[in-house]
Symmetry: C2
Subunit: 475 residues, 2 copies
């Protein structure tokens, strides 16, 4: 693995930290959920209504309790994941309500899309998780969506996946399902199997729904991403350093709360901060500023000793074109080089989180593979790899194509593209297929050939039973 | 500016260096040009026919003489460039014989294309040079192409540009033209105005044409890129470490020769090494391996204390699609983060150097702008930038859009895209324009509005006179 790229100096990290401590102690954060305020009050923090003013020593003490890495457990132990250290975990996008089609049309996402995307993530060697909320399945009633989504991840793959964070009750439903899958709530308390996404409400607030979920995950020993999406220029200041400080304050406040509820709770420092397109007021995510927020966040998370979530294959494009390509590569590459561990939205996203695209998912799969190859760097571990002997043998003006050394090494050394076209012009010109079209053929073929890993019939029945019971209670 | 990203450990740099020294001393390099062999022989190197075996102390001594940075002079002194240190210089592609059109057709490049591309580079704030050989103008006889190309750069822009490297005589023609432009050969001897591209003939050779040009530039005090393109798997070993060592040997051999001819000659360590697509035997440039070669080369150049050339907006795609986007961003971003100074092929390239595309040129201009913004990092130089006061003023749940602080800062902090579409789906859907089409409109508009900077009539007449004379001698 390559070393991690630090974009900030130590002095800059300290500046952000100091600014953050002032924000947390002098301005404070509002928690719109009484039990959360109570927890912080009991821990000696100054409270005024919903607003909590944090003590800086206390913040540092609580952050200290969060683990620097942890293992997330899959139903297939081969798919267990280290979160932190040198790991990097890619998964599809999260929460998009729309599907953009190959020809630039838009439609509502459905449960059928959800299942397909989970399968595509399950099939990919570049995605280590199937994600969570891979689209909003709008044909399923909101009240029971979380149940269907958990079921989809479990039935279609045996990789790790994410649970619900839409309030305490739904969060607990998905945790209980994970409990059944893994053999009991006590099992997953020791071996966390679920992770959720807790978002702050920028600037400087947390809402009831998210705080409920945070408490459910903390109580049961499950993991959570605690993330802030500052839109610099609208929900946050238009200076990058100011927006980063605001994000940092929100994330630290959430981490402190989680550690108060249950010290040692596995948390992931999350950043989705981005800029506002000042001409429209809309969010813009496929840009250098978002890349900088992500890169700096990776470094802040290292400073605080917790794993980091950020970035993804992010773009503002509406279709899988050149813009989608360069924006997604920029964000995912800077994400990966700077040491982010947990990458939601690594694939499929179009139009600033609003849409999922099958073609984009396939293109981002290729991008992820390329980045993973780059991260491996150079292998200089043997004379064979240094190749002096074969260079001497071939000599000036010779050729390596027919050498045994070449045949022996190229497959291990070279990334093999699954989608990119490396052919000559004439061959390409016969059909003039752009990668958007090639990607459509690709995902259709992957789905055709995908076979979901088997699930124990007994476990399956228990999960279905639980889900049916909850459905009847919720609708 | 962000710090430079080192992908190799010091130990790895030393391993490559040691391997390289063994190649140069034990295997040697062939120079197909008697005067070059003579120079090296006179300097005490062991010679056998055309093959030169280098002494490692001598190599290190000669490399020591090369400057770590130098200034390249433009006819407009505002466009003078530092080559080395923290600078990064982007320019269009070099040497493509074909133009790929917006709709995926191919045609031979012409002098008209050449002029247009120089103008587009002249108009861009992201390209610091107009390049050299921006396409092969196939409608101009080979014998006089170098004259027409130099003239195009001079007449259409006042930025720095590159001269010919196709043999001693043509190289000298373009140097003499630069001499007239800058007021005399003695002027440019002190203040280098021209840079050329010297390529090795991998493995471990230099041909007569390139060596002739190398000698012309070294004799006249002009700058040169000394570059190697190892195709790992065909012209070089299939191990990355082996190919990098081979490249390093070739480049160092060229640098040593240039320093023997004229100590202190400004040289740029050049890498274009890439892999062979093993299914076809063709070159592949838009990939993680090429990015790794470039990144490692930047670090080797730092180790040797010379500026670096590498990378670009490189792709194997045939049209400006998603693949062109992600491949070009990957290579140009890794090029830029790791500290390459001189980036030929930063824009316009399609199909592994075979084609130039106007649309791709515009897309790469946007990519270059995004990267330059990323490289600027965070500004934490003032309380204003840290934004504590405005965060306090707005408070939890407030909004920054209407704050004076926002209006004052966003233009300086945010990159303003020239091409990328950040709009909503509905607006985009009216025309469904992909970035390939948007780029076509863009370059047409830039050309319509472009006004070349004025050139002194007297100087212009002298240059035209020289060119006419040379044409009559050459055809």
């Amino acid at each position: 693995m390559l070393p991690k790229f630090d974009i900030l100096t130590n002095e800059e990290v300290n500046k952000i930290h100091e600014n953050t401590m002032r924000i947390l102690s002098e301005i404070g954060v509002e928690f719109e959920f009484e039990p959360a305020v109570e927890v912080l009050k009991k821990n000696g923090q100054k409270v005024d209504g919903n607003r909590v003013y944090f003590d800086r020593d206390f913040i540092e003490e609580m952050i200290e309790k969060a683990p620097s890495q942890f293992i997330l457990h899959a139903r297939n132990p081969e798919n267990n994941l280290v979160v932190g250290d040198d790991s990097i975990i890619f998964m599809p996008g999260y929460g998009a309500p729309f599907i953009h089609t190959v020809d630039g049309e838009r439609r509502d996402a459905t449960m059928d899309d959800y299942n397909k995307i989970v399968k595509l993530a399950g099939a990919s060697k570049n995605f280590q998780m199937t994600g969570g909320n891979v689209v909003e399945p709008t044909d399923i009633p909101d009240e029971i969506r979380h149940l269907e989504m958990s079921y989809s991840h479990i039935i279609n793959s045996d990789k790790c996946y994410m649970g619900s964070s839409t309030g305490y009750e739904r969060a607990m439903d998905t945790i209980k399902i994970a409990g059944i899958l893994h053999g009991g709530m006590d099992v997953i308390k020791e071996k966390p199997a679920l992770v959720c996404l807790i978002n702050s409400l920028t600037p400087l607030k947390y809402d009831q729904r998210m705080l409920g979920a945070l408490m459910a995950y903390a109580e049961t020993g499950q993991a959570m991403v605690i993330a802030s999406l500052v839109m610099a220029g609208s929900t946050g200041p238009a200076t990058m350093a100011g927006a980063l400080s605001l994000q940092n304050a929100e994330v630290l406040a959430g981490i402190v709360l989680a550690q108060c509820i249950s010290p040692g709770t596995p948390v992931i420092y999350g950043s989705t901060s981005a800029i506002t397109d000042m001409s429209s007021g809309a969010l813009s995510i496929g840009n250098p500023e978002g890349s900088l927020f992500t890169s700096a966040s990776a470094q802040l998370a290292r400073f605080y000793g917790v794993p980091c979530r950020g970035g993804g294959g992010l773009t503002d494009a509406k279709i899988t074109d050149g813009q989608a390509g360069y924006e997604s590569m920029m964000v995912l590459l800077t994400t990966s080089l700077t040491g982010v561990h947990f990458v939601m939205h690594a694939a499929g996203i179009l139009q600033y989180f609003m849409a999922m695209s099958y073609e984009k998912l396939m293109m981002d799969d290729e991008i992820a593979g390329m980045i993973l190859r780059y991260l491996k760097g150079f292998d200089m571990s043997s004379d064979e790899k240094m190749a002096f002997d074969v260079i001497k043998k071939v000599g000036p003006g010779g050729h390596f194509l027919t050498q045994k050394h070449t045949r022996k090494n190229f497959k291990e050394e070279f990334f093999m593209p699954a989608l990119s076209n490396r052919g000559a012009f004439d061959t390409w010109h016969d059909e003039k297929i752009e990668i958007n079209q090639a990607a459509e053929k690709k995902w259709q073929k992957v789905l055709e050939n995908y076979k979901a890993p088997e699930l124990d019939a007994n476990v399956k029945a228990k999960i279905e039973q639980f889900i049916e019971k909850r459905k009847s209670e919720l609708i």
